[in-house]
């Protein structure tokens, strides 16, 4: 089906079902219950899940397959965001041209940076990409944010190409030659798909549950599914095999008549375009682009997502993006009052002790939990959460298989971060 084998198609199908039903799945708790704060089924967060999913899927095509660790991928995210903003400002509020331009621009940018950075490998490559991203950040933050209109002019470029620290925003003066400059109510228009506004949503109350279906989320989800499908195709293609060969042994590759350079560059550009797509989608959901999106910590975040979920696996990056964004938005909201409620059933002394023990890891301390999880994964589970899941699955299967005796056919060596 769709050029996928049965296993991959099943995986894709599961992901399709999960993303389509996400407003239900992520909202398991009734509104009035104490657990409602763990509901993640609101549009803003769900959009972030899939957008960062796309970012991580793209990063995984580079790092997971070729082993080149880029520490500057957020630069492409930023380029995508700014490009989409400018389409909104100049052309109109339809999201499709905006996304097309962000992918294109980040692709061009990735060719430039990739061509130079890929002349080195290993740590040098990581530092080069980091240096380029920090340069882009500095440019967006200050250099490209200077008044380019000339003195006294109040034109489009009054705050430069990027708007500096405050970011690039829509204004009523933007030309938007293919769209409307202002809405009837005198506001700036909002991003839409042929008139269907991204921020519009429908709500459905079932008993005590409230489910929100947002246009923006479903739009992002469909794009994510396409991106995911393409990444499966890449993983299973001869091209994907060559990329794994790059990671495994470049020397053998060139003595087999293959030139590793264009393969790696292609992977770099593809992953840069994925990042640009994610950046464009961010702007399509919330039309504002700031330089902090290019800061190196943002690049570090996508590294964390990919590794946590499982670098080189198909579903891992999406999983990692989900876990991190969930923690960032949900775990970070827990405060000590809530903790006290949870442990209220315990005797007072133990309750306080438990709260004190758990407190550093929640709320503002969620980064600590993340850091520890990340370290544990790097140390014990190089294949990320996906490998963890596989190990558990194998454990259960082994228990079930035991009566039939050890059948080596069913226990192949753990796949090297390629399957699933």
């Amino acid at each position: 089906m769709l050029g996928l084998n049965k296993k991959d198609f099943t995986l894709l199908l599961i992901v399709v079902i999960l993303t389509m039903l996400a407003p239900f799945i992520l909202n398991p708790f009734p509104e009035s219950s104490d657990l409602a704060q763990f509901n993640a089924g609101y549009p803003d967060l769900m959009q972030r899940f899939v957008i960062f999913g796309i970012f991580a899927i793209g990063f995984n095509i580079l790092f997971g397959l070729t082993g080149y660790l880029s520490f500057g991928h957020a630069a492409f995210l930023g380029v995508g965001s700014y490009a989409a903003m400018w389409v909104f400002k100049l052309l109109g509020m339809n999201v499709l041209p905006a996304l097309a331009i962000s992918v294109l621009m980040s692709g061009v940018f990735a060719v430039l940076i990739g061509y130079i950075s890929l002349r080195r490998s290993g740590i040098y490559f990581s530092i080069l990409t980091l240096a380029f991203a920090m340069m882009s950040y500095a440019l967006a933050y200050s250099v490209l944010a200077t008044d380019m209109d000339g003195p006294g002019q109040q034109g489009l470029l009054q705050k430069g190409l990027t708007g500096g620290e405050t970011g690039l925003q829509l204004t009523l003066q933007d030309p938007r030659i293919l769209g409307t400059q202002t809405t009837e109510t005198g506001n700036t228009p909002v991003p839409s798909l042929f008139g269907l506004e991204m921020r519009s949503s429908a709500e459905w109350a079932v008993g005590d549950w409230l489910f929100t279906f947002s246009v923006g989320y479903y739009f992002c989800a469909v794009i994510m599914l396409i991106a995911f499908y393409l990444s499966i195709r890449i993983f299973r293609s001869p091209f994907g095999m060559m990329l794994r060969a790059v990671k495994s042994n470049q020397q053998r590759m060139s003595y087999t008549g293959l030139n590793p350079k264009p393969y790696t560059l292609a992977a770099f550009v593809i992953s840069g375009m994925y990042a640009g797509l994610a950046g464009g989608l961010m702007v399509a959901m919330d039309p504002l682009a700031g330089p902090e999106r290019m800061f190196w910590t943002a690049s570090g975040e996508v590294v964390l997502m990919t590794i946590l979920g499982g670098a080189g696996t198909l579903i891992g990056p999406v999983l990692g993006a989900g876990v991190i964004k969930y923690m960032e938005n949900i775990i970070s909201k827990i405060n000590s009052t809530i903790l006290h409620e949870w442990f209220a059933f315990m005797p007072d002394g133990i309750e306080d002790a438990m709260v004190t023990m758990v407190y550093p890891f929640i709320g503002k301390g969620w980064h600590l939990t993340l850091g520890i999880m990340f370290m544990l994964v790097v140390i014990f589970l190089p294949g990320g959460l996906v490998e963890g899941g596989q190990r558990i699955a194998r454990l259960f299967r082994r228990r079930k298989d035991k009566p039939s005796g050890g059948d080596p056919e069913h226990h192949p060596k753990p796949a090297p971060h390629v399957a699933e």
Binding site: L4, R236, S237, N249, G257
Partner: protein
Amino acid sequence: MGILEVKGVNKRFGGLQALGDVNLSVQENTVHAIIGPNGAGKSTLLNCLVGKLIPDTGSVMFDGNSVLGRTPHEINQMGISRVFQTPEIFGDLTVMENVMIPCFARRDGAYRMHAFETVANEATIVAEAEQILEDVNMQDKRDMHAASLSRGDKRRLEMAMCLVQQPKLLLLDEPTAGMARADTNNTIDLLKEINETRDITMCIIEHDMHVVFSLAERITVLAQGTPLVEDTPDNIKGHPKVQEAYLGQAH
């Protein structure tokens, strides 16, 4: 005119003359051995042939074309394959994938963006790869990780990867180094068979005289970066200069 013509090649590393005026002619469809004591420049010479090193002076012609200044993958595409002293394979990939990669390289050249095809659908490549695995008797290991193979199997896999490219010239860098006697003999048989059935010229660097004399039709003796003699195995055996080179100058 041989298939490989090396003329007047010099290579210096700082003050060390690694190769001094090397001339070598390898005839088509022969097995040509290069022997010599440690540090004689055998590996340097090999690296000059495959594009890893560029000689300071001289020319290296393969099949009528110069290889100098070309990158390793270009030289490989001209028809020169290389087997390394320690097998160089794609350890993270399966045995089957290891032999499929050179199949793709032969069909598609140094680079092709085949991102939307599927490996499993490439029927001819799969068939070709399976055939070569059968030829080297490894079909039962097709889904194993190459890194988990035994050393002997790694060597056979590397050989299979070279053969599937149907090279005109196969360069072998001590193919039996560190092998047990039985394995060495198997390798000799394998190489003999390849030479007889596939019309592949071979240039082999070897320390083990047993291997050299069972395979080679011509032998070049290198010493201190310069060829001492080139002759048939029978003539080499009793050659005084060769003995001198191996045993050192008499004091």
